[in-house]
Structures are given as C-alpha cells and as structure tokens.
C-alpha cells in the first residue's frame, strides 16, 4: 500500500495548521503570552486526527498509542507555547536586555496563570508530565475504589447492611468522612505537584537566560524535561512530599478498609462468606503450610540419618546382601 493510499498517512491537517500559524505571524501577531496557546492549532488538529484514526487501531495497541499520542500532544503544546516567544526573539538581538525581558515576561505570565489555576489551553498538555502523577493516582485509586456513592450502597437490593438502620447511618457518615479526608489530602498533594510544576518552569527560564543552547524545538523540549525532572526529584526527596504521599495512601486505605467492612456486613446479613471469614481461613491455611514445612525439614533430616545408619550398617556387615538405600535428595512430593 502506497503512502497516498494509506488512511493513516494524512498530513494535510498539519500543513493546514502551519499555514494558519503563518497567517497569524503575518498579521503581526505580537507574541502575547498564551495567545497562540489559546488557539492551540497544532494541538487541536492533532486531537482531531487522533480521534479519526484511533478507532482503526488494533485493540492491543490502542492503549499504548493513546499514551504515545498524549505525550506527543505535550510536545506540540510545547511548540505552541514557545512559538510566540520565538517570533519575538527573531526580532530581538540575541541575549540582549530586550531578549531577557521578553523571556521573563513570557514566563511570568505563564506562572501567574498557573498560580491562578487557569493555564491557557494547550498548556495542560505542555504540563502533561506534571499532571501524570495526578493521573496515575486517580487511575490507581480507581483500581481500589469506585465512586463513593457507589461504594456507600454496596449491596443493591439487600436490606441495607443487615437492617441495623442506626448502625448503617453511622457507617455511611463515617464513609463520607473518610472520603472527604482523602479528598483533602489529595488536594494538598495536587498543590505540591503544581508548585513543583512552577519550579520546573523557573528552572527552564533560568536555563534559557543562563545561555543554554537550544538549537531546535526538540532541544527545548528535552531541556524542559530535564528541568521538570530535577524540580520533581527535589520535591520528592523532601520530607514534606513523602509525608503527604504517606497520608494520601493511608487516607485511601482507611476509606477502602471501611467500605470493605461495610460490604462484609452486607454479605453477612445474607449469610454469604465475608472477606474477613476468608482471611481467617487463609490464616489457618498459612499455619498448616508452616507446619507442613517443619515436618518436611524433619523428614529430610530423618532420611539423612537413615541413610547414614544404613551406610554404617553396611560397613559393619560387608558380606550382607545389598538393600536399596533411600536417596538423600528425594522430597516425597
């Protein structure tokens, strides 16, 4: 199949968006921070393209490619954010005072928008990596717990949790309280990520003003990754983040344990095995395994003793007929 026949090899959209951006530049686009990002032509076109082709991908590769496309989107957003800056820089003497002023102006505007929690469109993708810990935590917590309202009515149709209405109300209130506690810690965690994101941008600005060589967009993206990674590692190595991370895991665990107990109460009311009962059985089984292992060790020692005695016996009675010795390595499996 030639490229022209290939439905995935459509690049007209990219050329179209490039012409659109060229037109903006030609109109004397002043390089206001966020202006081009607000339009996000490349990023939007990219999304449009992905929506068109993703359904055609084999299922086993769709998830991988979605990750790939998401990160590619971050790269394009990086281009969009820096394009107005480059337009200005193209008119300024390199590394002069005007150049520095312009870089600072761009970054300050962006920092303000980030601090206000209103990053310009496109910047969401540019900060994609910063958002990933948030994403991954949401995805991870989704593995453990569905939404609270789903969790707080664990057994649809059952007499609510054994019919103890007063106890149920207490349990529901406690569940709601634990969920709220988790949400509060999550907010704190996200604030720390946001701070680290701004620190990463500060580092990037320092690098650019310090004369870091950026010959192309890719080098700029790599520098941004390096700055972000450094800022993130600094945060992670601190006591505050580790404490926050632990509180987040602990809060989620508390909520999950509570819901597990509520579900157990519902199961018990229907005379069904509970998680706690299964745990008891598993503990007993673990005890039996341990006893079995000890018995196996004793059996092995007895075998070796028997073998030694047999050899000694044979040595004492050399003329006696041979008997088949027990093999030391047999385990009796």
């Amino acid at each position: 199949m030639g490229q022209s026949d290939n439905p995935f090899h459509v690049t007209d959209w990219a050329a179209l968006q490039r012409r659109y951006l060229d037109a903006l530049q030609a109109l004397g686009f002043p390089g206001n921070p966020g202006s081009v990002s607000a339009a996000s032509p490349w990023h939007n076109a990219f999304d449009y393209w992905w929506q068109g082709v993703s359904a055609s991908l084999p299922a086993e590769q769709r998830s991988f490619f979605a990750d790939l496309v998401r990160q590619s989107g971050a790269f394009l957003a990086c281009a969009e954010f820096f394009t107005p800056l480059t337009a200005v820089l193209a008119r300024q003497p390199a590394a002069g005072p005007d150049w520095e002023r312009e870089v600072r102006r761009q970054f300050e505007a962006l920092q303000q928008q980030l601090a206000a929690g209103t990053p310009p469109p496109g910047m969401e993708s540019l900060l994609g990596a910063w958002k990933l810990p948030d994403d991954l935590w949401q995805r991870t917590s989704a593995l453990f717990a569905r939404l609270p309202d789903e969790l707080l009515r664990p057994i649809p149709g059952a007499a609510p949790l054994g019919g103890n209405q007063s106890g149920n109300a207490d349990a529901l209130r406690e569940g709601a309280r634990l969920w709220q506690e988790y949400q509060q810690v999550l907010s704190e965690y996200l604030r720390m990520l946001s701070t680290a994101a701004r620190n990463g941008l500060n580092r990037l600005q320092e690098q650019l003003l310090g004369g870091a060589q950026v010959p192309n967009l890719r080098a700029l993206y790599d520098l941004w990754v390096e700055c972000g990674e450094t800022a993130f590692n600094e945060m992670m190595a601190g006591a505050e983040f580790a404490a926050c991370f632990a509180r987040l895991v602990n809060a989620l665990s508390s909520f999950k344990l509570h819901t597990r107990r509520m579900i157990d109460a519902g199961l018990e009311s229907m005379h069904l095995p509970t998680a706690q009962a299964l745990g008891t059985m598993q503990e007993r089984e673990a005890g039996m395994r341990s006893e079995l292992r000890a018995a196996r060790v004793r059996q092995q020692a007895d075998r070796e003793t028997l073998l030694r005695l047999q050899r000694e016996l044979e040595a004492l009675r050399p003329a006696a007929p041979n008997t088949a010795p027990v093999q030391a390595g047999e385990t009796g499996d």
């Binding site: 060229d22 790939l68 404490a243 991370f245 602990n250």
Partner: protein, 356 residues
Amino acid sequence: MPPVALDPESVAQEVLAFNTRLARGLSTFTQLGDVQVGVSPRTSVHRQDKVVLYHYDPQVPDPLAVPVLICYALVNRPYMADLQEGRSLIQGMLKQGLDVYLIDWGYPDAGDQSLTLDDYINGYLDRCVDFIRAKHGLARINLLGICQGGTFSLCYTALHQDKVQNLITTVTPVDFHTPRDLLSHLVRQVDVDLMVRAFGNTPGELLNWIFLTLKPFRLMGQKYVDFVDSMDDPEKARNFLRMEKWIFDSPDQAGAAFLQFLRDFYQANGLVKGTVRIGDQPIDLLAITVPVLNIFARDDHLVPPDASKALGGCISSSDYTELEFPGGHIGIYVSARAQEMLPPAIAAWLADRVQA
C-alpha cells in the same frame, strides 16, 4: 550563535516532521500484531501452586556441572531476563556454557493473600533448589538473584548455606536506607499494615506506577517522544513494545509477603540491622561464607549502587567480588552492553569457583 536559535518557521518545520513520523509510525504499528517475549527454549520441570520452575535447554554439549538457579523478583515478570534474541541475559549465560533454571512466581490472586516471605523463601524457593539438587545429584547449586529476588537469595543463603555453592546478586537492595533511595524515602511513612488489611493483595499497577513516578518526565513523557523518531522501523517498534509489555505486566503482590517486605526491609531496614525473621528464623547475613558476586548498576534509580554495595560489609565471605555495570536497573539485563559484559563475567566467575 544565540542561545535559543528558534524561529517560527523552524518550529513549524519541526512540528510538521514530527507529525509525519508519527503518522507513518501509526501505519507501521497496524501491521505489527502482538509482540512475542522470551527467546530461549525451555521446559517446565517442577510446579507447586502457581510457581513454575523452568529448565533452559543447554546450548553447549558439556555445560558447567553445577547449574544456576535464577530467582526473580515478585514484582514484574521474569521474561525480562530472556526478552528477545540478542537481548537476553539467559541466552548469554547459556551460550557461555551455563546450565540455567528460572523460577516463575506466577500471578498471585486473592487466594494467595496470606502467602508470606517464609512461604516464598523456605517454601517455594527451597523446593526448587531441592528439585535441582536431586536431579543433578548435587549437594549445592549456584544461585543468582535479580533485584528483590537477590534479597530473597541472600535470605535463603543465610538459612540454607549447605545448599548454595556460589551466590550472585544483581541490582539487589541490601541497605534500604541509603540517601539516594527515593523509593524507600517515599514509602517510609506509609501504614503498610492498614494498606494490606484494606486491599488484601497489593495491585501490581500501583507498584508499577510508583516506580514510573520516580522519573515521570523521562519514563512517561520523553520516552514516547523519543520513540517517535524510530517508530517507523518495524523491528525497533517491536523492541519498544516488548519493553512496554514487560513494564506494564505487573502481578499483584501477595498481601502478607508485601507487608513483611515493605515493613521489615524498606521501613525498618532490617536486613542490615539483623532484625528480619523469615518464619521463625532470624536472618544473619554474617552467616554467609560462600563466594559472592555482587553486580550493581551505576545509574540505578530504583536500587542505588550504595544500597547494593552495602552487602560487602554485611557478610563473612572471604571471596566477595563487586562488579559495576555502567547503566540502569533494566539496562543491566537488556542493553547491548550488558549482553557483552555480564554473561561472560558471570560464567568466568562461576567457572573459577566450580572447578576449584
């Protein structure tokens, strides 16, 4: 040359080129199909519950008389050690004339929640060792541990030294409280007991994402953007997908074993303090007198070199060798440099000691 040599035209060209490569790569991907992992022929020779012991077909007529048992970690899957042609530690070891066995721990489910480290080390691992000893008529075999599997191998050797002739540890954490150990720092204050009571088995996805979070920009961002450069090459695309498959193939962790590993090793740093107990037996690393080869990775962000190198000061062996690999935690198994460096080094080290 100005520090930032970008202009709108060059940025636009670069974006266009990037998009074109991505579109071409997508076309390549639609024709790849599922990627295969594992390259060396092997036979399942022993099973217990979900644990399988594999024996790899020797690739020389007269392999080293004492076989090597590879003890992998519970985290992720052991095919990392035999990923593909030319990127396989096991293949390299076989070519160097070693006789290789590998333990596959399987995928624990809710029924395995109560499995302890005692079950894994004095149970499954010991059974595998006994099986190989009996099959080869040997009193002792060689043991090679990978990452957490190396920690297990250390505990096992401390308890069953009469069954281990030589011990090799690779990227193995020993001191869990070294300054650069971010993973340990991150989990130090987590209430693991509460976590295991709440979740039972610990979801593999959670561990995996925590590992990736240690380097989010590189491992979850830049890696994919870099890949776009080479994704229209089917072979490179397959290689990349194999690694992706391995990274996200994360078994759940049996609750009781996970609790003990995190609490006693990561939080209490009990291996170097001598406070770890497996079953009812204390683990005393000083009891280890067999020859030890300790291989660590210079750029390892999961098990920093210092965490591994601490082993030298914790054992009594008079035959202790360290080998530094110039790479990271995964590169030590799959990189081209690793293939050239590790199998010959391991084989030579073992040959010297087995013949002696």
